[in-house]
């Protein structure tokens, strides 16, 4: 804008009316206001409801189902002290951690191949990794139900028995292992994509230099590739952990009664027991867990501990 105005001044002609009255500061005001509808919408339908839920979790529900005073922390105490509920909390933590660790270990090779192969291979792998992301979680859970089906009619058991690896069908469905497998399938792309993006930013010369100086492949990976890909790893781990911890569909379809997670417990408290304050307290614990992991991850990413490779 300044340059054009200078030109106008030099040529000694009147600037066109549209530009004359519109210096930067007048533009700045309305542009900021464009966020107001979205802000208002989210404040009313997201922020305010979340606070409402937080409030319900420390209130009491009377026999008519009305929630109000007195304030209490009893619902939180109940979640921790009643063994049945505490077990759900631990199951959720265990499944989320195991899924995130497995996803990391398995995503590194896939992301490496994805980033460093010929364009055709990269394209195919990207498509296979991403495509299921858009398929409904219910469908994917159902797919695993068919694969893991207990009894000789399940695909896994059929294969294992046909190859004579086992003599009798094994039972995987309705265990924690089934939930981990299903969660890994659903959230694997969330680990591969940030990792691939971080790996893609690493200067290949660094790895070449290490190799030329005589480092074997595993040492190049451990000393150069791995440290430089940390931002991708942290971002991916956080995503997989948060999403697994908050899942409902996969444990409902694959876990049955033996792998109930926090999400399933909330649903049960609200829809079956109608205990809103307790359901709200479990929800707050779930949110706290997810926010804590995200906070640590943000601290790691923005602090000096991990520098993003530019």
């Amino acid at each position: 804008m300044t340059t054009s105005n200078d030109a106008v001044a030099v040529l000694g002609v009147q600037a066109p009316p549209a530009t004359r009255g519109a210096p930067r500061w007048r533009l700045a005001l309305p542009v900021g206001l464009l966020a107001v509808p979205m802000l208002a919408f989210l404040t009313y339908f997201f922020f305010y409801p979340a606070l409402g839920l937080l409030l319900s979790s420390i209130q009491t529900q009377d026999s008519r189902g009305i929630i109000g005073r007195p304030f209490t922390l009893a619902h939180y105490a109940r979640l921790i002290n009643v063994e049945l509920y505490a077990r759900v909390l631990w199951t959720t933590l265990r499944i989320s951690i195991i899924t995130s660790v497995l996803a990391t270990v398995l995503a590194y090779p896939v992301a490496l191949v994805m980033v460093k192969s010929r364009p055709m291979v990269t394209r195919i792998i990207t498509l296979i990794v991403i495509a299921p992301l858009i398929v409904s979680v219910v469908v994917r859970g159902y797919g695993w139900q068919l694969v893991l089906q207990n009894g000789p009619k399940g695909m896994l058991n059929w294969i294992l028995m046909t190859l004579h690896i086992v003599d009798a069908p094994i039972s995987v469905l309705y265990t924690e292992a089934a939930v981990v497998i299903g969660s890994l399938h659903v959230f694997f792309p969330m680990m591969v994509l940030p990792l691939a993006s971080a790996l893609g930013k690493i200067d290949p010369n660094l790895e070449d230099a290490a190799r030329m100086l005589g480092a074997p492949w595993w040492k190049v990976f451990l000393r150069v590739t791995l440290p430089l890909s940390m931002p991708g790893f942290v971002a991916g781990f956080t995503l997989v952990f948060s999403l697994t911890a908050g899942s409902f569909v996969i444990p409902a379809i694959l876990g049955g009664a033996s792998a109930v997670m926090l999400g399933n417990l909330i649903e049960q408290q609200i829809f079956v027991v109608y205990d809103w304050p307790f359901g709200a307290a479990i929800a707050v614990v779930l949110v706290g867990l997810v926010l804590a992991v995200n906070g640590v991850s943000m601290w790691l990413l923005e602090g000096r501990r991990l520098r993003r490779p530019e």
Partner: protein, 267 residues
């Protein structure tokens, strides 16, 4: 394959990668295979070939109703999240005001919040308000969870816009609206399209918000499918699932055509 990988390391890498590709595809392919199985129960290996389960699904009133609802809901959600999200993205990229970073964080926060809790909290407020219409409630809930996707993709593409072009248009006498339509919008079109497509797909597949806000009269596809899983054991469930898988594939191809998958998701 590539000079960078050689020897034992390469062998491990390619074996794990191939294994994971199989792991990703196996359950989806199995669902598709079973959907044409000519047997009254879902079994492995699938037997024969028939399309009768598709015929059954396409005559199933519940499924068709749910499909109609889900598509309309996803269209409404797309429109809603674009309407709120695109201007917000403009404010975030072009605005210079106090607390910009905090507001950006707030607008994107539904992304890290467990969607299950978002839905539950919304149900509580909507119940208090006495909002009975499940369709309206679902629309509100879906816009909450999809608008951050729109904001993210549009912000990314706006940051790449050359502002000199806009200045040039304004200098040449175009007003702000014309400048937006003729200069800015064409430059961010792929970001807006990707955001809209994301919103559509996230809404269409959403379960954790939908489960709280739907009722017996208005149940979108994921809820109906979940109900069928528990009650129906013939291959009409895999047939329904296959239809959903195929619709998703169309979505992926569209996204790839419009923006390129990696770029769309890295945003």
């Amino acid at each position: 394959m590539d000079e960078r990988f050689s020897g034992f390391g390469a062998f491990i890498l390619y074996t794990i990668t191939a294994g994971m590709m199989l792991f990703i595809l196996a359950p989806l392919l199995l669902v598709m295979a079973v959907s044409v199985s000519d047997s009254y129960f879902v079994t492995f290996p699938p037997q024969g070939f028939t399309l009768k389960w598709y015929a059954k699904v396409l005559q199933d009133r519940d499924f068709l109703e749910a499909m109609r609802l889900s598509i309309l809901l996803a269209l409404g959600t797309t429109a809603g999240s674009l309407l709120f999200g695109v201007p917000a993205a403009f404010a975030l990229v072009r605005g210079r005001f106090f607390g910009l970073a905090a507001i950006k964080g707030f607008l994107l926060s539904p992304l890290i919040f467990p969607a299950l809790v978002t839905g539950l909290a919304l149900l509580q407020v909507l119940t208090k308000l006495g909002s009975q219409d499940a369709r309206l409630n679902l629309l509100i809930g879906h816009v909450v969870v999809t608008s951050p996707y729109v904001i993210r993709t549009v912000v990314t593409s706006l940051q790449l816009v050359d502002e000199n072009l806009e200045d040039a248009a304004r200098t040449l006498g175009a007003n702000r609206l014309t400048t937006f339509w003729r200069v800015t919008l064409p430059q961010i079109a792929s970001g807006v399209a990707a955001g809209g497509l994301f919103a559509f797909m996230v809404s269409f597949d959403n379960y954790p918000v939908t489960m709280w806000l739907a009722n017996s009269e208005y149940s979108p596809v994921p809820l109906v499918l979940m109900r069928q899983l528990v009650n129906v054991f013939d291959p009409s469930v895999p047939a329904m699932s296959t239809i959903i898988i195929l619709m998703a594939m169309v979505g992926v191809l569209l996204l790839e055509k419009l923006v390129g998958l990696r770029r769309a998701l890295a945003a």
